[in-house]
Symmetry: C2
Subunit: 207 residues, 2 copies
C-alpha cells in the first residue's frame, strides 16, 4: 500500500493536468480496455509526465474509478432530464414510449465502450461493481416510476420484474447498435423495440 499524498489540484495548471489525465484515460480505456492500457501511455497521451499521473491518482484503478463515477453522473443527468408528459393528452403513449426508449438508449450510449469496460470490471472488482450498480438501479427506477404512474393503462402487473426486463433490454439494444457487426439500422431496432414493449406493456392494442 502506498504512503504518498495524493494531491487535489489547487492551481489551474494542476486542474488542467488532472483533467487531461482523465480525458486520456477515458479515451484509452474505451479504445483498448483497462488491462491493455498502461499508466505511462495514459500520461503520454495526456501530455504530462508519469510523475504527475501518480501525483493525482493513487494508482491506475483509482483513475478508472474516478472516470466511471463521472460517467455515472452523466448518465444520471440524462435520465433526470426526461420529462414525463403523462396526462398531457397531446402525446399518445406509444409516441412517448418511443421517446423514452430513445432517451434510455442515449443514456447508455455515452461512451459505450467504457460502459462495456465497466461491465467487465464490475464482475471482478467490488468497488467498481458498486458504481455500476448505481447506474443500473437509477435506470430501473426510472422504468419503475414510468410503469407505476400509468398502471391502469397497462396489462402487466409485476412491476419489479418488468422494470428490470425493460431496462436490461435497453442496455443490450445499445450494445447491439454499437458493437454488432450485423448491419442493422438503429431506427429499425428502436421501432421494433418500441413495438415489442408497447404490445407487451399496454392493454389497448392501437396499431
Amino acid at each position: 500500500m502506498s504512503n504518498r499524498n495524493i494531491r487535489v489540484p489547487q492551481q489551474d495548471r494542476g486542474k488542467e493536468s488532472k483533467n487531461s489525465i482523465i480525458e486520456a484515460g477515458l479515451r484509452l480505456f474505451s479504445e483498448k480496455g483497462y488491462y491493455k492500457t498502461n499508466s505511462k501511455e495514459i500520461a503520454k497521451r495526456a501530455g504530462v509526465s508519469i510523475g504527475s499521473f501518480y501525483m493525482y491518482f493513487a494508482d491506475k484503478k483509482a483513475l478508472f474509478r474516478e472516470i466511471v463515477e463521472l460517467y455515472n453522473q452523466k448518465i444520471c443527468d440524462v435520465l433526470n432530464d426526461i420529462e414525463d408528459p403523462q396526462n398531457s393528452s397531446f402525446v399518445d403513449e406509444k409516441t412517448f414510449l418511443n421517446y423514452l426508449i430513445t432517451k434510455l438508449i442515449e443514456a447508455h450510449a455515452i461512451y459505450p465502450q467504457l460502459h462495456q469496460e465497466l461491465t467487465v470490471m464490475a464482475a471482478s472488482d467490488p468497488d467498481i461493481a458498486k458504481v455500476y450498480n448505481n447506474t443500473r438501479v437509477e435506470a430501473v427506477n426510472l422504468a419503475k416510476r414510468f410503469l407505476s404512474s400509468r398502471i391502469e393503462k397497462l396489462r402487466i402487473r409485476d412491476i419489479d420484474t418488468v422494470s428490470v426486463l425493460i431496462q436490461t433490454t435497453m442496455e443490450e439494444i445499445v450494445h447491439i447498435i454499437v458493437f454488432s457487426d450485423v448491419i442493422i439500422s438503429k431506427e429499425k431496432l428502436i421501432n421494433e423495440t418500441t413495438d415489442m414493449l408497447y404490445r407487451y406493456l399496454y392493454k389497448d392494442k392501437k396499431l
Copy 2:
C-alpha cells in the same frame, strides 16, 4: 514470436495433462477473468508444471482460444438438439416459445462467466471476435429458421431485425439471471419474456 514446437499429446498422460490445463483455464478465466489469471496459476491448478503448459499451448491466449472453441461447440450442440414440433398440433405455439426460450437461455448459460469474458475479449481481439461471432450467428440463425417456418402465423415482417432482437434479448436475460444481484426469479423472467415475445411476434392474442 515463438519457435518452440507445440505438441499434440500422443500418450494418455499427455492428453490428461492437456485436459487438466484446459479445465483449470476454464475455471480460472471464468472466476477471475483473463487478465487476472496468469499461466503459472493455471498450471498449478491443473496440477502440472509451467513447462507442460508451454508444451501444449503457444501462449496464454492460445489456451483461451481453445477453451472458447470448445465452449462454442457445446452451445451449438445445445442449439442443434432443439426439435421444432411445428405442425404437430399437440403443442400450442406459446408453450413451444417458452420451451425455445428456455433452451436458448440454457445454451447461453453454459459457463456464463466465460461467456461474459468472451464478450470482452472479442472487443479487443479479432481472433476471439471471430469465434464469438460464430456462436451468435448460430443462435440468430436458429431464431431466423424458427420465424421463417411460421411466418403466416406472425405479425412481424422484418425477420432479420427481429431475429437479432430476440437472440440478443435471450443473451441478456441470461446475463441478468446469472449476474444480477437484483433478486428476481428465473421462472418469472422466462415467463415474462415468453409473454413479451409472444405478443410481439404472433397475430392471434391467445391469453
